[in-house]
Subunit: 727 residues, 2 copies
């Protein structure tokens, strides 16, 4: 997230009571102008059916590619981490005898820092938007906020590279969050049938080149990402819906579901080939919790979300610190390297000072058991937690038999890892927070289970601390990200056992309620810190006092149906207003009265019109040279050129432009007296970008945009208003 | 469903190309009139928080009561069916030796018919709406169609009684579908804080007495019903969303989820007490498939949904036949009894003529093994399928070890049960189609599995036909009801094993695609046959040709801001139009021009105004005697008196009524040129009842209602228009 931050002026102290004017909105309402209607009317019933089939094909492709990427990340991380741990292990074994383990420590720290440096360099210098998990950005995208460069091919490449480096570099991060971002980028790319970065247009899927269609595919991509990350297709669909969609459409849901299925199947298929067991399909996701088989129906201990809230609060202060002081790319890279080195050091120290030796059993899942100072046939149990990728550590905590871990070891580990994870989230590396949260939760859950079994040692039902680890992991993750429905399904799908569903639900609900008392979810905290105009589900409940009249921006710059080119260019070039939508009013502009609304035209449409010089010569009335087509608009989408790049001569400035064909003739309007919740509902349900406020006579009196609505929120003393800032 | 049918004139040949004008709409858009706004503005932030807590409490109550009802049904059915089977079993055992099994047959048939008669009598004569599963009606309710009497207390009582009778009567039905309806009724009752039937008003929850809030609770109730029926809380939420909600709201979803959780927990808790194992919580739902433990990751045989479509087609013709010829309650009761007797006879014949004896093992789940003509220590395997409640039969098919069933037995059983189930669905009894579908599917799935194991007997992976039974059950149910996402989750939660998720998904998708090729889902077929103006998710794709001008009803009866009482009474009494919403226009009515829109008022509001005689005396201008409050409207909700019951004297007819305070001053409007898909989207997304069409000058030119939109649908030759009928 530090990416968005970087592009803001450094001197302005960051404040979440601001709302940035920097972010544009996406338009999830089709502009139904004449060109569009003509095209739709030309299309036969068969045509629409083909379109529908194409949508399914695209969703299949999205799922397939997302699954492939997940597979690639997984294999790369496993290989690299394997080499690293092998090297360090051999080194440690060598120096345990000789004395001089500090050399091993340095080797470990250097290896970690080197990996992290590579990843951090790429992210900080090439594509800052690729930092973090990308989930807040995707949430914003689906909400309707345009985050620049978030779904570009370059972002995807850097993201994948970055996540491989940071996980292999031993940071307290997971590779699951970035998969969601990756899936979304794949979706945005595939559905458009071209890559603007590579300057390659396949001339397919042109119909889908608009925000409305793109959003649907991006939802599918995000779902496919979740599905690949956790092997949870239903959870993926729910994630997309819980975080993104506002208008639920059954057909769309099925397509999203299909993409999720294909994604998990692809990952499964290729990983099974890689592991030499083709057709076994036993790795449904990037993380595999292993199967929980036994019955846990009576575990109803409800853990609190307090630790989750604590995580968010500390990270919140840390992020503010970062925004203020660490904004130069090289500083960011250095911080990332520092964290990597510290992680290695802390891990090493913990392993070194822990005397917790456990016998080396046959059924242990450890891949790199470290003997260190233990007797032969024993291994250091702290090392199983640290000397491993976090995914494996989580699995060990869930499944290792009772007695594997010493309570003190676990307690110290939890504290240390908590501190590391808080520090790590928000670094300029691509990484997710899911797995670290699970790991922290699993560790203290298991600790709690062990303590409980000391107290009530008679009852066999309290015996398996692995179950407490699972519940603890759910509570911690729920306390941090505050998703309930989708997270329940994801965890149930990942554990492969429905019986845990009920305790997980209870725990997540409790974690959410407790956590919300202190602070919002981590993603929401970060979104707020970026001053993104994010629209929540409902208007603040106490906002019935406000009406459209108070909320709207006014006065509005309007155009006439037939407008002078010079005026259009002047209005578009005016950087002080920088409006994106302009109501079109009927002819009378001579008197000062605002005209009657007859349409709405967007900046992007005007730019295309200017570029193609669709002018009506003054003499030859109303006959333009070449008929502009919908295709011309689609070709320019989504990177419309700025007005400065379009040259309009002095003669041309005197020409007129007829907007009738291109404007949306039926924009949604509301009267001035409409209450804010009503305006909000209309705006949110239909995914609007501009809502025209009219008076009794249908004259334009104002325009409501996303920022006008996002401004109001419920604070401690009731309704508060955020300030708009140019940052 | 035959309930809705009954109330229609019998002589009109039924036609699904009609759209009935009989059905009113619900209004899911708040009427934000002055009274409402004043109340909202008076409320503090604390007040809204209390309201939110109240919502959670109500959802908890809904879940609790729904769980209790499910528990009651389950225990009653088990007891009654137990007595019945025991009696018949003893009788059969007695007469197997003596000869004279026809007496047993008669006993069985009479017992069945008696049970069914009771249930059918109650349904046919007391509350016809309680017939069937109730799912189509709840779908309609959530869609915004007012189905009379569907959420009344009486309906609930009859429904519960009916379902106990019909399941105990041995019909090929399940008790799961009706649970969804029951949950919805509970929700509608609890959330209103009163029962109009019992004339008891608890004076609580008055804030929730309007369609918008009620719908939210009914969604929660339906979800709680699914959750109790299948032990599938997440599936319940998804069902509500897939079938009902159009505007997805995160907070609402969490409340629905909570209701589902409470419901399954309650059922679980009380059933575990009933079974003498308190605290074990091992019966999460009414149906319990037992746990599938082994791995099935390679079962990818995709079954087709053809059989499901066949079911729907036959049932479609049968329903038409019933609508035409069997519309008298006594005929309906007789048909139900006939079916019950035939079911007993067919079952008996099948058991009698099958020579499929199986050794009586220790691990069999049969509760009533029938020896009949088998050797000692053996039992008749056909009897396990017929001599049992369908839930148990399904479980046997899933879990009995390979070799339990003879392929011929299974084949004959499938055919016979298929015929019975098709005949049964649509009878005037309360019953669901889920379990019969599962049973048919399980039988032929197992049959398929057995045949496959004959062919590929070498591979051990094909060995367990129980898995094929599960897949077959999913395919059959999917082919009949055509839900994908929610059904996947329901089945996964019911089987308790996520590994089956992927094959189930594939099968459901395929079943849906194949089935849709032939005919719609069963519920949609029945909704269509009732000519309900049901709004689908999107407008037909080829409907861009149409604009609001063509679609709207015109001319519109408008009222003035201050209108003569006489005119209002006359308009409301006019049975030929029977409008429910009236645009209010500004004063000028002298000229023939339509006036400018300034509000919208509903028939129900006008009725309340007339009842309370809120008239402005001609002399004392604009001073009504008593200030009407929102409470007066809420007290009358939802059964507003008809206009005929309100007496207005000749003097009063000359008075005036000021509508300003009571009308919705900001109704949504669209210009005449708006395309149908755009109108549809606005209407559907916001759950509107009336949408005013205005011209350039904001003058009312038409009104779009649900019927105007539901009229258009995609037929074989493109867009078709349904005819409106007064039926």
């Amino acid at each position: 997230m530090s990416d968005i931050v970087r592009s803001r002026p450094k001197e302005i102290p960051h404040n979440e009571k601001l709302l940035s004017l920097k972010f544009e909105s996406l338009d999830y309402d089709n502009s139904e102008n004449q060109l569009f209607l003509e095209e739709e009317r030309r299309m036969s019933h068969m045509g629409f059916r083909c379109l529908e089939i194409t949508r399914w094909v695209i969703c299949g492709l999205i799922g397939f590619l997302t699954g492939l990427i997940a597979c690639m990340i997984d294999i790369a991380v496993e290989k690299l981490a394997g080499y690293k741990y092998l090297a360090v292990k051999q080194n440690i074994e060598k120096y345990t005898e000789l004395g001089g383990l500090s050399i091993s420590l340095i080797l470990w720290a250097v290896l970690n820092s080197a990996f992290v440096m590579l990843g951090s360099l790429a992210v900080a210098f090439l594509e800052p938007i690729a930092a973090g998990s990308g989930i807040p950005q995707i949430k914003c995208f689906l909400n309707g906020v345009k985050i620049p460069r978030v779904v570009r091919l370059k972002t995807l490449v850097i993201k994948v590279f970055g996540v491989i480096c940071s996980v292999a570099g031993g940071l307290a991060v997971g590779k699951e969050g970035p998969m969601i971002h990756s899936g979304a980028v794949v979706a945005a790319g595939v559905s458009q049938g071209r890559s603007t970065s590579l300057k390659k247009d396949f001339k397919i899927f042109e119909y889908f080149r608009r925000d409305t269609e793109k959003r649907d595919f991006v939802s599918a991509g995000a779902a496919a990402g979740v599905s690949a990350a956790f092997g949870a297709p239903v959870g993926g669909v729910l994630f997309s819906l819980e975080e993104g969609a506002s208008f639920w459409n059954q057909l769309l849901t099925w397509r999203i579901f299909f993409a999720s299925m294909v994604s998990t199947f692809t990952l499964n298929f290729f990983l099974s080939i890689y592991h030499g067991k083709p057709g076994q399909l036993s790795s449904p996701g990037l993380i595999n919790f292993g199967r929980f088989d036994s019955d846990v129906s009576s575990v109803f201990i409800v853990f609190r979300g307090v630790l989750g809230a604590l995580f968010n609060i500390i990270n919140y202060w840390l992020t503010i610190f970062r925004i203020r002081y660490i904004h130069r790319p090289c500083l960011q890279v250095m911080e990332a390297m520092l964290v990597a080195a510290v992680t290695a050091t802390v891990s090493f120290a913990m392993i070194y000072f822990s005397n917790d030796c456990q016998p080396l059993g046959q059924d242990n899942t450890e891949e790199y058991p470290l003997q260190l100072f233990c007797a032969d046939g024993e291994y250091n149990s702290m090392a199983t937690a640290f000397f491993n990728t976090p995914e494996r550590s989580v699995r060990s905590l869930f499944h290792n038999p009772p007695g594997t871990y010493n309570p003190v070891t676990l307690g110290v580990f939890t504290l240390a890892y908590f501190a590391l994870a808080v520090w790590t989230y928000g670094l300029t590396v691509s990484a997710g927070v899911f797995i670290p949260s699970l790991l922290i939760g699993a560790a203290w859950g298991r600790l709690f289970g062990i303590l409980l079994s000391f107290i009530a040692s008679s009852q066999s039902i309290w015996a398996d601390p692995g179950k407490y680890a699972l519940i603890g992991a759910a509570a911690q993750l729920g306390g941090i990200v505050r998703m309930t429905l989708s997270l329940t399904v994801i965890l149930v799908e990942a554990t492969g056992n429905v019986t845990y569903g009920f305790p997980i639900m209870l725990v997540l609900m409790t974690a959410k309620i407790v956590g919300d008392y202190f602070i919002e979810g981590l993603y929401d905290v970060h979104i707020k810190l970026q001053s993104v105009p994010f629209l929540h589900w409902d208007a603040p409940p106490t906002s019935h006092w406000l009406t459209a009249r108070e909320v709207m921006s006014s006065p509005v710059t309007c155009f006439n149906r037939v407008e002078k080119v010079g005026r259009i260019v002047d209005v578009l070039s005016n950087t002080s207003t920088n409006h994106n939508g302009f109501p079109v009013v009927s002819d009378t502009t001579e008197n000062d009265e605002p005209g009657k609304i007859c349409g709405l035209i967007l900046r992007s449409q005007l730019i295309v019109l200017l570029k193609h010089k669709v002018f009506v010569e003054r003499a030859s009335s109303r006959l333009s040279q070449r008929k502009l087509q919908l295709k011309d608009f689609r070709d320019a989408y989504p990177r419309f050129p700025p007005i400065q790049s379009i040259h309009v001569s002095q003669d041309e400035r005197e020409c007129m432009m007829d907007l009738t064909e291109f404007m949306n003739p039926t924009p949604y309007t509301v009267p001035q007296e409409t209450s804010l919740p009503r305006v909000f509902k209309l705006f949110r349900a239909l995914g609007l970008r501009h809502l025209v406020v009219v008076d009794n006579e249908n004259r334009v009196v104002g325009l409501v945009t996303r920022k006008d609505l996002a401004r109001y929120h419920v604070g401690k003393d009731g309704l508060e208003e955020l300030h708009l800032a140019q940052t």
